[in-house]
Symmetry: C2
């Protein structure tokens, strides 16, 4: 086990009500007179199309939180000295609204996003708030732009809550002025024509997260530094990075996703392994859902435990690595078919039989998200 | 020696001309009709006051770099989906303009800032440019706002070049649209009434930088995560964090500064120790200048080498730790008088004799910056 000490108790672990918060009931709604045309749902590029409205909520240390405002999407006016542009005083969340066959719009486990957002805010010394209130504001925003939630069995409305430090002074310090905003936009299915497995570069130099760092938080500072490494992966014919940590080369994440490996153990059972929440791993909503679902299945054992690249490749050599996949809100699951490590290429068996375990997780989660299977994990929006 | 491998050759090491660049000769200057009143130079807070003008240069992958524009300082219009607000696709530099007793305005080793900015841009997959051209643009900006360069023996004009990714799409990828901007503002002396030494919390959990990360680059992602840790230091009665790395607890940096320790060695000589540029350390301009100056002194030896907290505290116990100080553009040098480590407080000897080595570095550097001592390190602006 990686010996990584815990940081002190964060607000999210104490429950997420805080002394100072905005209230969804105070929301001011200014609707646009004419919205933008909706794009062809079959031609959507992730994160490139935005709905007509956004939610903004200002915070100052002096006045606390202002009233939530839902207004037409527009450029933000940001002072060039704002801390967010210099010191990455910024965090975000990623979630989706799903329109079911019954026409209803639902969110999927949004309480987990609110909890993580507050945990990241506290670690980033950005202002905290009542997560239930933000969730109600987000519901209102989705209601205002309900026509932007695709009528589709697979397209969805992506929701991006963001919190930035806007105080226009250059000291490296907690901002006295901040802005919480939420934008949304329709996104197509990650795999429109069935799974398209990815290949990974297991990078032995670069590192996504480290003990005492930000790996467990959804902060902007975790993402910018990865772009260069992903470029190196692409130069080696891979799509994404398999992130390793430390001298023992523990497997941590895949690209911007959590990672799962289905390994036949030496007794013949199937173990689904994912790295534990040791401070290096983002507590993904899809990750947690796969763990929770997997624990109800009788044919696999779910383990949150450390696993090194050596153990993975040993299982691969012994034909015991059945499937490997990334997991995240965008793709739900993303099968892995190849790993490049220390100049060698390893072809994995993931797709040999059509990735049955990966597929089953995908289908069970999608059925819940689109309301085809009733679940306590969904929250009705409209 | 910390065994940290090097990342591939960055543009800064190949010389900083690139195929695509803007040209200072193309700069469009739009002066304000009436400037803001200049503040009292004795009441300046770092980074809170801005000069009248800013420099902006747009980049798109399609059109390349646009023309540099010097215009009145104004808010930037940034799409809420711009990558800089989500993924910390941002970097900056910190430099100063100094008005000498002769009235001339000078920059101090700006070539090192340009080199580091290009190195960080390449690591951040932000667009590169010809550093000489940006330097000429910065000179023009300082000339336009020359009245903002304090007439003072100690106040200066702080210069903040910044490069952000503005493409309004949510994919984690290199931005196809970026903005380079430079703002400036007058800053007072860091120590208006003589050195005010600081106390440090040697944090054993949090980490500023790690192998395979961004520690050697001036990227926003290195700074946001430190704000929380500095808050912890303040809660323990310290002003700043002494950043340690790894199980052996190597000393790396102090707050947002490089660190130097003057140690009497067992043979009686004085060694000035600073950690080497091993990938965890920002290549500071003041750091380099102290090393360069120190190597011309006959009474000390300068070592760029690893040093652990244990070695430091052993020297402290033996009364061989003469002085310790941080080094950076803002403070030049910042004496350290106390370290809190594992619940114990250690009073250092730094100020016992008035910090003679620290003071000598301070004075030699200031004399060069203000043109009192001729040097190849200064570049005339006007």
């Amino acid at each position: 086990m990686l010996a990584i000490k815990r940081v002190g108790l964060l607000v999210s672990e104490r429950g997420y009500a805080t002394a100072s918060t905005f209230r969804a009931a105070d929301t001011i709604v200014k609707k646009t007179e004419r919205g933008n045309p909706k794009p062809d749902p079959n031609k959507l590029v992730f994160g490139a199309t935005y709905s007509d409205h956004m939610l903004t909520i200002k915070h100052t240390n002096k006045a606390g939180w202002g009233k939530p405002v839902i207004e037409p999407l527009t450029d933000l006016k940001i002072h060039p000295g704002a801390k967010v542009l210099h010191y990455a005083t910024e965090l975000f969340e990623g979630m989706k609204a799903y329109r079911g066959d019954d026409g209803k719009i639902r969110l999927f486990r949004p309480d987990l996003n609110m909890k993580r957002m507050l945990s990241t805010a506290e670690r980033s010394v950005l202002p905290t708030f009542d997560g239930n209130e933000l969730l109600e504001c987000i519901k209102k925003l989705v209601q205002v732009d309900a026509e932007w939630v695709p009528r589709s069995k697979s397209s969805t409305l992506y929701i991006r809550p963001t919190l930035i430090g806007t105080e226009p002074t250059l000291g490296v310090a907690a901002p006295s002025e901040s802005l919480l905003f939420v934008v949304t936009g329709p996104v197509g299915p990650y795999f429109p024509t069935g799974f398209k497995p990815v290949s990974l570069l297991a990078d032995t130099f670069h590192c996504r997260a480290f003990p005492g760092g930000m790996g467990a938080f959804k902060a902007g500072s975790n993402y910018g530094p990865t772009i260069y490494v992903n470029k190196l992966a692409q130069e080696q014919g891979c799509q994404q990075v398999l992130w390793l940590y430390g001298e023992k080369r523990y497997i941590t994440e895949v690209g911007t996703m959590n990672v799962f490996m289905c390994i036949k153990n030496k007794k013949g059972g199937v173990e689904l392994v994912t790295p534990p929440l040791n401070g290096l791993i983002l507590p993904g909503v899809t990750r947690q859902s796969i763990i929770d679902l997997g624990r109800t299945w009788k044919d696999i054992t779910v383990s949150e435990r450390d696993i090194t690249i050596d153990e993975l490749l040993e299982a691969q050599q012994d034909n015991r690595l059945l499937e490997m996949f990334g997991a995240g809100t965008a793709a739900i699951v993303c099968p892995v078919e190849r790993i490049v490590y220390e100049g060698k290429s390893y072809d994995l068996a993931t797709m040999d039989k059509g990735a049955p375990i990966t597929s089953r997780f995908h289908d069970e989660i999608v059925d819940i998200q689109f309301g085809r299977k009733p679940s306590k994990w969904t929250v009705d929006v409209a």
